[in-house]
Amino acid sequence: MDNPLWLIPALPLAGFLILAFGGSHLSKKMIAAAGAGSVCLSALITIMIGTKLLSAGPDGGTYSQTLWTWIDVAGFNAKITLTLDALSLVFVFVITFIGALIHIYSAGFMEGDKDYSRFFACMNLFVFSMLVLVLADNLLLMYLGWEGVGLCSYLLIGFWYENPANGYAARKAFTITRIGDTAMAIGLFMVFYQSGTLVVADITAKAPELWQQNETVVTVIALLLLAGGVGKSAQLPLQTWLPDAMAGPSPVSALIHAATMVTAGVYLIARMHVIFELSVVAQSVVAIIGAATLLIAGFTALTQYDIKRVLAYSTMSQIGYMFLALGVGAWTAAVFHFMVHAFFKALLFLAAGAIIESLHHEHNMFRMGGLKDKMPVVFWTFLIGAASLAAVPLISSGFYSKDQILWYAWGAGGGSPLLWAVALLGALITAAYTTRMMILTFWGESKTHIGHHPGKRMTIPLIVLAFFSLVAGFIELPHNFGHFTLFSDLMHKVLPETILRTNVSSEWMFQLLAALATFGGIFLGYFYYGQQPQRIENLRQNEMLAGLRRFWFSGWGFDQLYDVILVKPFVFITRINKADVVDKLYTGIVSVTHALYRLLSRTQSGSLRWYIMGMVIGAIVILGIQMML
């Protein structure tokens, strides 16, 4: 164990174990120390190892550490091996660093909750599972982390279990992601039978020899893996669980449903990029799914009341951008957007959590307002986050990452004008709903009394995250802004470079259009919600627009659709078959024998003459048979 790599996941695991077994005996301070401390330590170790890896890493830029052999059966060999390369480093960094901040925030946020230790136990377990997911050297171990984060997500969405609605949301999240996971498992089987291994590095090495470009098998594998990613990352068509998942506490939404777990799909696809590269079909499907999701989620976000649901749909939409980037072959851009998004979306969720907490658990933005002056720290940090989300040019990190994606959507190998147009429209909508959210929450008159203000443990993480939301974009600048490529250089050790099919020189035009889209969105939001709110009322009068709004509000009717075609039939079938129809077969046999019994016992009438008749008939039959044969 010369390498402390194993400590990164082990520390949160230790925290989990301490809290799970001793949580009821610890004071709140101790719980917070164990819960948040373990993740902070793990973040520190990450930074330590990360710097070492970047400065004086081994050849190939990968740390690898085998702990023990997990399964070894008939040529199937899966080891518990942790691998740290550039891609996983970024994820580990985001998980531990943002995770640590969110834990600190939670120490304040959850102060009043009676299940303090359970919360931190689950959070620690989540961090552990997520770290296993990204550090796994083989797909099976990754699957372990993959399901582990699903479990934690389930536990934390349903954290306030007294309310059955929360439990429902939690189950929905787990079940829907399970659908994707199962497809992914089948994908793993195919990978194994095709390549004889589940070790990522081996697959990466073997893939080009194993499969030809666009072979059916590889497409199928890619699509199955994609299904897993789609489920986890709340993309079409398995996206419906994410908005409901907002039933969990806000730090949970920040950590799991914004920064880390929901981007596991991105990680998976990036990790398995060789397979996707071999299949144009799969790649396009990824891009199309991303584009469709970003648009649908954007429109839905435009109509929501609940601040957290707006953020949830925006998360879906942003991950849609990442998928789009992956789909067009802009691998690094996707990972870059992941990182930036993690910062600002965690920030937004945490800030929203602070607001909700202060307003007595008021989620409805229309009942907020006027918080600009009353909660300045939250306002400013939220503003920075919102700016990043809306991709305000130059100053926000979101601009750099999203602009890159927009540009690649057109210009990268798999890009097309249509994808670009969709992405651009998405940018416009994003800016619009972000503005709407800002205005409704912070401007206008105050509608709800503020209970208490967030403490230091909550504000400091906000400030740190706000800082990163501002500066994180500067580690990767476009070609025409100094062309600073720290991030993509790092990534290119693992991920292939993005192939461009158009000239770099035209990039400025796209940047301009993106900026215009952002400002257009901001203007729209401002126009309808800030300046002339009565116009919205007018629009609502319109029958058709109101219908459209309802359609968008419901998330494009996916929930209803699934309810009708899947849930209802399932429940119906199980309900009518509760008593098990097969059992009828056996009860039938029993009733037949009972009927025979009744029939026969009637012959036992007690009448001697009847008995004699029986004997005589028997004798006649016997003699008859005797004579005939």
């Binding site: 399964i71 008939a74 509760k578």
Partner: protein, 505 residues
Amino acid sequence: MMLALLIVILMAGGLTALLAGKWNKSFPRWIALISSTAGFLILLLFWIDQHQVVQVSSDQNWLVQYQKDWILSFGITFHLAIDGLSLLLLVLTFFMGILAVLCSWEEIRERTGFYYFNLLWILAGVAGVFMAMDLFLFYFFWEVMLIPMYFLIGIWGSENRVYAAYKFFIFTQASGLLMFLAILGLYFIHGNNTGVYTFSYVELTGTVIPSQVAIWLMMGFMVAFAVKLPVVPFHTWLPDAHGEAPTAGSLILAGLLLKTGAYGMLRFVIPLFPEAARQVAVPAMVLGVAGIVYGALLAYSQTDLKRLVAFTSVSHMGFVLMGIFAFNELALQGVVMQIVTHAISTGALFILAGMIKERLHTRDMNLMGGLWTQMPRLGTIGMVFAMASLGLPGLGSFIAEFLILLGAFHAHFWITVVAASGLIFSAVYSLRIVQKIFLGPEKGAGHIPDFSRREMVIMAALTVSIVWLGLYPQPVINTAKPAVVRLVQLLQPDSDIKSEQSYVR
């Protein structure tokens, strides 16, 4: 000698308990605990001692055996022998035995002597089944476990116990008799072929049987094992028996009796009728998948907690059937794992159901809810085993189901795809259990105590085992390996499945 000793310990312990029960109501449980623990320790020491041998040996068939003449006139010997597979199952038997005694500790207050007598004799029967190397002896033990189980359900069960006991008994006995016919058929065919009339497993394995007859004989065996396993559509005794049995009864039913079905298929059906088994492989796998899906659907709709868990067993055992008839090492190792882990996870769920019933006096999930508030420990453990039941990686069940699916995938693509949907269904019903019982608003008023120390010990043992099996299943896999490899070689004598390359195109 050790093998006979194991059975003697249990049987003698049972008789002693029966007699001691006359004097004092708490003697029997101590006797039962001591005898099952003694057996467990003996086996554990043996396992540790043999660990290297198990890993290495592949040509030597049996680790240890014991043979004595019994009914010579019919060529019946008292022949016990174990290989790695049997060893695992025996360890499991005694482990479950200890837990069964522990979880009956407070639950059973009446007629304790007779209760523990039955309990120990069931264990003896099961242990005998796992060791018998003579088909007559096997059938003998197969039946020995029935009567005590019948009493266990019929006397100490809940309201509908008599019906459940009948159903259990008649199903298993009817199918067992068909197996007995098949055993006799095999006996005479072998006798006619060679002139040696014997029930010895080793002798009979090589019997040359006309394929038309072989199918029928195999069906005789299969029916018995299919009822025990249980395979849809022979499963309907299971929910009743599980539902009505006392906690220890459900535990042993789920943990051990169902496993005898799987063991029977592995030990008898395939080695005795490899050709015939291959012919029915696809229908059998389809039945397995039907079990997975159908069991899960039924589990979802149940409101009785124990019935629900019983139907999950149907679903999980579907994996076993599918794995067995996938005929490759991966799937078979998965089957072995599934046997072990299902015993632990489902056993734990039944114990939990028993604990809840002790506290709330109901099995109806509609009357439960919000138990987490008062019983966080019980809730946590419940969550762990619900997760085990849905096959969460990191817990033993995942390894089992993953290996089975992986192996089955090699054998048949589409069947496996449908079977994989079982993973989704299992999530649906498992989470429903958790939701209905532990989560939601608190239903009942009044104070409900959380785990006692004894219950903690039981649950800790189970939890540690399931996590251990999930993270480091290799000891189990290694122990079962020689037996599994031999099975595979039996089925595919020409192909060298050991090489890694065979999976690659």
